[in-house]
Amino acid sequence: MAVQTPTREASGMPTRSAPSETGQPWKERWAGLFFVAPFLLLFALFLLWPTFSGLWNSFFNTSLAGVRGEFLGLQNWREMFGDPAVWSSLKNTFVFTAMSAPPLVVIALVMALLANRQGLLGWLLRFSYFAPFVLPATVVSLIWVWIYQPGFGLVNGLLTAGGFAEIDWLNTENRAMLAVVITTVWWTVGFNFLLYLAALQGIPAQIYEAAAIDGANGRQKLFRITLPLLSRTTGLIVVLQLVASLMIFDQIYLMTDGGPNYATRPIVQYIYQNGFTNYRIGYASAISYLFFVIIVIVSVLQFRLFSGRKEVR
């Protein structure tokens, strides 16, 4: 993938690339930088700088914004690796990812197959499947907390009406994560659905016509043509979805606040708590970097797999 090559370059030593083109006036040579400058300035200020100042902070006992504390060396890092809350919130993050990513890919694919070439009905289907995605996390959480409400919430109302025992979804340790996953699938599946839909619409109709002439049935068309042709899109969606799921924070913070008994607290919330509730900036920075490294490893591994698959085809 194109994404990979430049990344490797960036990690290597900056070589003086542009061999000064002969006779090119000074103004022309640097004109390009003028176009890139506004972006680079913001990039340096609000991405590069905090990335490195975060790493720097992780070696200090910084406790208040703006005041750098004493130098601790690797003490924050050592504490982090021995902190059971780090490991349990990492576990929650991985559990959430493992539970949410598969349905977010599979249901999106099913939706796209169903909504493709449906004429006028297609508008309604696309609207229904994608609409939740445009809602803010807070709105989604308000709606679903109400739906999961014990007693008179929609889900428990239906359970009791059907003669089943009701479940206190958000306050039961082994149900809360499932409840958040269901909410997340409902909320965000629309984006993957649109990616699949676009890919489906890019498959030329002639392929299907040729297959029909060869006597292929619907099942064969699906498994021999459609799904193989979607494999690149599937790779892209899996990469994006795994990274997005690992970044989980908003809806868990808003729906369960990490509870009950920290059973749903993800790593990002633990970073937030250390930084903004306990004011342990240095320690929060160390955990941020652990999380960063995990995200980078997952992304790089995924890109490897993804580009490997493309070469096979």
């Binding site: 542009a18 176009f35 006028l120 809602l135 308000l142 839909l197 676009a198 908003d250 970073i271």
Partner: protein, 290 residues
């Protein structure tokens, strides 16, 4: 649509496919059931918001309000900063979208069409920036904003969101695909690079710019984490942060909670309903080509 394409295919291909067969019917039924499941939470929120408060907690649950009322909406608007948050969200989302488009178009042009010392290294650095999750930056970025005095300001909310390496990457890819002949013709006519960006590149990339714009707008309107971190003053909060902040203050008035959720979600639902075609095509363009 179907009426236009169907006769054409039946005329061209040999064996005539039946218009309605079992798989076709099953897929339509399945699609509609799935759509209904996806719409129920939204409709249930709307339904609850139109009930008088006592009816919301009655068991067994009532499906439709017995006497629909807008009292909950009245209550929500009367008691809070909701209108102020709408204003803030609009200002923030418009600024983020406009600045992101401006800055990213210029950078994408620079990376796609010009040669300057260090271009490849800087581009690589930007691509590496895609890997940095915003969640990693909240702590140092908040410190930085405190130092710059930008906490509880629009610029404090807006500026970090303008840095979107992915958008630059997507636009650069798109620009790479535009033939240089157009620019060369413009240059022969005496156009400067600056003119070329606005009179050649931008008009030719309308669809991708609309897509980037719509997604930046949705992202900025809905962004929770960063505005939540950088605002403490309720009058500076955006809709998602403000609603989270007052979640508790409605108490057990579910009709009001749902009314606030409906109001918070409505603007973008309307935008999406109006621009669905652009959104759907935009995801395809950005996702598949990028």
């Amino acid at each position: 649509m179907a009426a236009v394409t169907l006769p054409a295919t039946t005329r061209n291909s040999g064996p005539v496919e039946p218009r309605w067969n079992f798989p076709k019917v099953a897929s339509v039924v399945g699609a509609v059931i799935l759509a209904a499941i996806w719409l129920v939470p939204l409709l249930w929120a709307l339904d609850t918001s139109l009930k008088p408060e006592p009816e919301t907690t009655r068991t067994p649950i009532t499906w439709l309000p017995e006497a629909p009322t807008l009292a909950a909406y009245q209550g929500v608007i009367d008691q809070g900063d909701l209108l102020r948050w709408f204003l803030n969200s609009t200002i923030v989302a418009v600024l983020v979208t406009a600045l992101t488009l401006l800055v990213s178009v210029l950078a994408a042009y620079g990376f796609s069409r010009t040669e300057f010392p260090g271009r490849r290294v800087l581009f690589g650095l930007m691509i590496a920036g895609i890997l940095v999750p915003p969640q990693v930056l909240i702590v140092p970025l908040f410190q930085e904003m405190t130092g710059l005095g930008l906490v509880d300001t629009y610029w404090g909310i807006v500026l970090p969101q303008v840095v979107a390496p992915v958008m630059v990457f997507v636009l650069k890819k798109f620009f790479d695909g535009i033939s240089r002949d157009y620019e060369d013709a413009a240059r022969v006519d005496g156009a400067t690079r600056w003119r070329i960006v606005w009179s050649v590149m931008v008009p030719m990339s309308r669809p991708i710019l609309v897509a980037v714009g719509i997604f930046t707008f949705i992202g900025a309107w809905n962004n929770f984490l960063w505005p939540f971190i950088v605002t403490t003053d309720p009058s500076m909060m955006t809709i998602p942060v403000g609603l989270a902040n007052v979640q508790g203050s409605y108490g057990l008035r579910y009709a009001q909670i749902m009314a606030s959720a409906v109001l918070g979600g409505l603007p973008l639902l309307i935008v999406f309903a109006l621009f669905q075609r652009h959104v759907v095509r935009g995801v395809g363009d950005a996702g598949i080509k990028g």
